[in-house]
């Protein structure tokens, strides 16, 4: 794992010192809110519906146990005993008081964490595949790239006042678990003739104008990555629209100018940036990469695992849903679901954070990951330790066996917390999970991803949910629109709207009707919801949702 250099430590300490003074001046009245707001946003501090909210960056979703323990300490000391993990691998605290935030930031700095550039029109926290370093299908660990980008983008003088925010995601595998096609820049590690390089996508994004990222370059050599990415951001920085914030993101720039023109501009700018970089970035990358060396994996028998799997049905159910293939024999990647039925997606109590930290310390090579799907990942666990890990998780409400299932729902905070929201998300997620748990058909349904956003900005990724739910305010009443067929992976697709929305009372029964239609029409258990949708299209689901009349009209149209 990356360790802060003296430079990093001094930089974060200086930023925290500055922010402490800025908070002091705001409280004394020396700064107005208009003056203070951009300063607090640069440090991840929002003012939400009921309170301030501090968004802490978890770079590329990677934490060690000491960092997770410190997140627990923050939750307990300055919040209400819990934290909320987000769809960009960050953690949010919903209840800090303004005067306490400088102390929170200092506590974070003690373990090499910060909240810099988690808001504002800057390059945001760089996200990565949450299986990075462990995935069986990985070409190379994407995190050294993400860390290099983090160091380059932090306080980058050219990119502090971008037309709009800018999000980058990196995957080291062809199987995309980092949603790179819905990012401003998506980077995929690829190999060509034995050389590592990067496929670079541009112009993806969700929000009010969702777009799937397009391929800007099929292979950028490792040594050219930073100057190339700088060229892309630099071209957009000049071209991006500052007259209309809804048209400012790079996806609109690419859409308006066309991919070919953008590529030509990037190539020409790249000629300059490449000459200017001079190789320091390559040396830095090597230094960073060395810090992501794999842990000392052990070679041990797995009989304990095999025995538990054969005899304990609860363990087996958990292993079947929550484990993924590790690149080392005898190891597994274990996901800890933060989606217990009826609970708030992505929330963990301080006690639960400490339990997860302790498991990582004892059994997981001291590594934890946060996934954009709002779960926690133990990226390297030996199978023989899994029964013991499962026992601890079970005792702490963390052993829900539902990864990838209908109750493993992504939900933004929605109008329960967010000042921008137009409707609630959390209670809808809670009700759907509770309902399908009662029906006991989750495993029969198989893989089905529901994603819920409480406004058009789409923090809940609803456009790429197999079933997407968007909460809106329709004449002063919460109303939920449904989209079907979205996909967040390498075969990314935007969901299609089913038709008129549903009230808060009617949305859960509507989801149930969609699922019933799927179970009725699928060719067999092995055909997933998404596959059935792709085979049959919207018609059977529209019929299930709206009845014969509306479905007929839809067919005629």
């Amino acid at each position: 794992m990356y360790r802060y250099t003296d430079f990093d430590t001094a930089f974060v300490a200086e930023r925290n010192r500055q922010f402490r003074q800025q908070v002091r001046r705001r409280i004394s009245g020396a700064l107005t809110e208009d003056e203070f707001k951009p300063l607090r946003l640069m440090n991840g501090l929002y003012l939400q519906l009921h309170a301030y909210m501090l968004r802490v960056a978890i770079p590329y979703g990677t934490l060690n146990s000491a960092q997770m323990d410190q997140l627990a300490l923050l939750a307990e000391t300055w919040d209400k005993g819990y934290g909320h993990f987000t769809t960009r691998q960050n953690i949010q605290y919903n209840w800090p008081k303004l005067g306490d935030v400088p102390d929170m930031l200092d506590a974070l700095a003690e373990v090499g964490l910060h909240a810099i550039q988690t808001s504002g029109n800057t390059i945001r926290n760089v996200t990565a595949d949450h299986f990075a370093g462990g995935a069986a299908d990985e070409i190379a660990d994407p995190r050294p790239v993400a860390e290099l980008l983090r160091q380059w983008s932090t306080d980058h003088p050219e990119f502090q006042f971008l037309p709009r925010k800018f999000k980058i995601a990196v995957t080291g595998s062809a199987n995309d678990r980092a949603v790179i096609k819905a990012h401003d820049i998506g980077i995929q590690v690829v190999e060509r003739d034995g050389q590592i390089g990067y496929r670079v996508l541009v112009g993806g994004g969700l929000g009010r104008t969702p777009m799937i990222g397009k391929e800007l370059a099929d292979f950028v050599p490792q040594a050219d990555l930073l100057p190339y990415v700088e060229a892309v951001v630099s071209v957009w920085n000049l071209l991006g629209r500052r007259d209309n914030k809804y048209k400012a993101r790079i996806k609109i720039t690419v859409h308006e100018h066309g991919l070919d023109e953008i590529r030509a501009l990037v190539e020409s700018r790249f000629a300059e940036t490449r000459a200017a970089f001079g190789g320091h970035d390559v040396a830095l990358f090597e230094e960073i990469a060395a810090q992501f060396a794999p842990p000392a994996f052990r070679n041990a028998p797995t009989e304990v695992y095999d025995a538990a799997y054969a005899t304990d049905p609860v363990f087996r159910a958990w292993a079947d849903t929550n484990l993924s293939a590790h690149r080392i024999d005898g190891y597994a990647i274990a996901q800890i679901s933060l989606k217990a039925h009826g609970e708030t997606p992505g929330d963990a109590s301080a006690d639960q954070m400490r339990v997860m930290a302790d498991i990582a310390r004892r059994y997981g090579h001291d590594e934890l990951r946060i996934s954009h799907e709002q779960n926690v990942v133990l990226p390297h666990v030996h199978k023989s330790d899994l029964p013991a890990i499962h026992k601890i998780l079970k005792a702490n409400g963390l052993a829900t066996a539902n990864i990838g299932r209908i109750s493993d729902i992504i939900a933004c905070p929605g109008m329960d917390y967010c000042a921008l929201a137009t409707a609630r998300s959390i209670p809808i997620a809670q009700e759907i999970a509770t309902r399908f748990d009662e029906l006991k058909i989750e495993n029969d349904i198989g893989e089905l991803k529901i994603k819920i956003s409480g406004c058009i900005n789409a923090c809940g990724h609803h456009h790429v949910g197999h079933i997407g739910i968007l909460g809106l305010d329709r004449a002063g009443v919460e109303n939920y629109q449904i989209t079907l067929g979205g996909d967040a992976t390498e075969t990314a697709a935007l969901g299609e709207r089913t038709g008129p929305g549903f009230s808060a009372d009617d949305i859960v029964p509507a989801i149930e009707r969609i699922v019933e239609a799927y179970l009725e029409h699928r060719s067999g258990r092995e055909e997933s919801f998404l596959e059935t949708y792709r085979r049959l299209g919207m018609a059977p689901f529209k019929l299930a949702l709206y009845g014969e009349e509306t479905a007929k009209k839809a067919r005629a149209a």
Binding site: I27, P96, G476
Partner: protein
């Protein structure tokens, strides 16, 4: 004929705590909607809003929120204001916990 002015309260978030506050008739910031001053005259409402907005060392994001003037004092007319007046629906945190 222009639309009749619907009753309003002056509301904001407190600078230090960040929680929802309302302006009372005696110029205090109060934590409970029921204690807020109900403004039924548009000109008066605009003046109260201006005065409150000037108190930038106490309040952030001051605006007029629509209410219905009931027997138990002002009540929110929009669900957003209802959440602001009570707190989130997933935990008993915020105003609903303060009693």
């Amino acid at each position: 004929m222009s639309k009749p002015f619907s009753p309003k309260v002056v509301t904001a978030n407190a600078l230090i705590e960040g929680d929802v506050i309302y302006l009372a008739a005696d110029d205090r910031w109060v934590r409970s909607l029921t204690e807020a001053e109900v403004l039924t005259d548009e000109a008066v409402a605009q003046l109260r809003l201006l005065d409150a907005s000037a108190r930038s060392a106490e309040a952030v994001g001051v605006y007029l929120a629509e209410v219905a003037d009931g027997l138990d004092g002002p009540q929110p007319t929009h669900f957003r204001e209802a959440f602001r007046a009570t707190g989130p629906s997933n935990y008993a945190h915020g105003k609903q916990a303060e009693g």
